[in-house]
Amino acid sequence: MGRYILMRLAGVVGVLIAVSFITFMLMKAIPSGPFDMMGVQANKAIPDQLKRQLEAKYGLDQPVFMQYLLFVRNAVKLDFGYSFYYQGQTIAQIFQNQWPYSIQLGLLTMGFSILIGMGLGILAAMKQGTFFDYLGTAISLFCLAMPSFVLALLLQIVFAIKLGWVPTGGWDSPKQWILPVLANSLGPVLVLQRYTRASMVDVMRSNYVRTAKAKGLTEQRVTFIHIFKNALTPIVTVGGPMLAGLITGSFFVESIFRIPGIGQFWVTAIQNRDYPLIMATTLAWTAIISITYLITDLVYAVIDPRVTYVKEK
């Protein structure tokens, strides 16, 4: 098992190198650089001489390949340098200051979605064709049709402004967590509800479920021990990458609820041509999703004894 994990981690390093190279070259290939964008935002052109000075300062006057090697040398030490856009802040500082908020929002959203999404999925599967089944379908269709930024605004209007139960934004007290988590969990609830229901229904038709019933087990025991454990594999398959997406923040939800998370940086880094931040966010995402897939694969082996990553002797 240890050997398998090491092999997989070595693979992740390979992926990181490939992704960093491709991203770096693509980034350089888009027209206009970071200082042009500053000029655009300040509504005046930056003088050529000043631009060249700036480029020399940040090493952008060197050949692209040299720039890449320089980047790799520093990135190995997790040093991505200073942001071009957020003056005076290092990339490490930005991640340190902002990311914990996104992680917290993501984990809360995941927990809530598991509870609601899987709960509704199990209920719908057990009570097929009844009110509970249609309720689950209705809720997941709502989640599918409703964009999170629209729901976020609606929630603000109803619960924060009209009823005044919770603040409109911020992230200081648990009360402020409620609305963002609700708005953020639309997608996860939808996916988990549908997958859980489908997977449970699939397993319910198995011969071994009939065997379990023939043993005189209660319905609860059959559902939660004999069906659920078998139904988990497809749920884990979608759940792993879902978690990766959630802990990297949400652009809309974080902006609307004024949560100082990292979600917006993924988007704005490109607009701002903030080279160091683009590289950092891309590689962070690559690492997170790769590790998530590794963990997902390891979880399969825990759920299903037929899955093994060790050569049997």
């Binding site: 009939r210 043993k215 005189g216």
Partner: protein
Amino acid sequence: MDELLLEINNLQTEFKLNQGTVHAVNGVSFKLNKGEVLGIVGESGCGKSVTALSVMRLIEAPGRIKAGEMLFHGEKGVTDLLKLSPTDMEQVRGNQMSMIFQDPMTSLNPVLTIGYQIMEPLKIHRKMAEEQAQATAVKLLERVGIPEAALRLKDYPHQFSGGMRQRVMVAMAVACSPRLLIADEPTTALDVTIQAQIIDLINELKDEFGTAVIIITHDLGVVAEIANQVSVMYAGYVVENGPVQQIFEAPRHPYTKALMGSIPRLHSWPERLTTIEGAPPSLTDRIVGCPFQPRCQFRIERCASENPGLMPIATGHTCACWVAGHE
């Protein structure tokens, strides 16, 4: 005097589908004494398995038991299984009656250990503690011929061969010493040598535990070997019922006769085996008259309009045929 264990009267099970209602079991009746073996035979789709699942009350929607009476002589006197609440039925299933299924490859839960699955009924019905259940499970596995039973408790079904899995199924079924064991084609998915071993095992355990057995099969050889009584089913009806000797040596119903004619025999090797012209009727149609009548070479006028129903023709031998009954 033989003691009665199970009495099925006029059992009817149907499946309501969009294409119409499938009348899978149309008024099946039979009796089973304690410790005896009843073989239910018939071709695929004749309602054998549905009958078995009905007795266990494991028919799932869109299927339902429409009518009938299933009198079970249990520990606490006679109960009609059809009148039990689902919770009360759970007390009977796996405890007083249990079932072995056709496909051992898929009938065990792949993510639970063999030990867990065998211990489950012991803990639930016999209220055994962990260690006691474990010791009993080891004994059961040893009894059904699993080597190194204690070690194998922690193994998962995929680590066992098909024959071994069926042994585990048998061990699980007899765990609580049930009064009735239903074996639904227990050997169909196994190869011949393993088939014989499983049948022998069921035969031995039946005597050991004093369990009555309903064995469902289309393998007449299995029936000849193990059964005392035979019910022959056709299109959801029982067409002939009797002691195994009589059914094999002097079958009365034309369908049973044809069925016997289709067995290859060692000493009198006919040129060709008997086949039955035509195909069984569609179970979505309402059958008027005798269900076998369109394919029967002995049919008379009355067969098309009136279902004969089971008529006694000898002691313990009944047959649903206008012609056979009046020979």
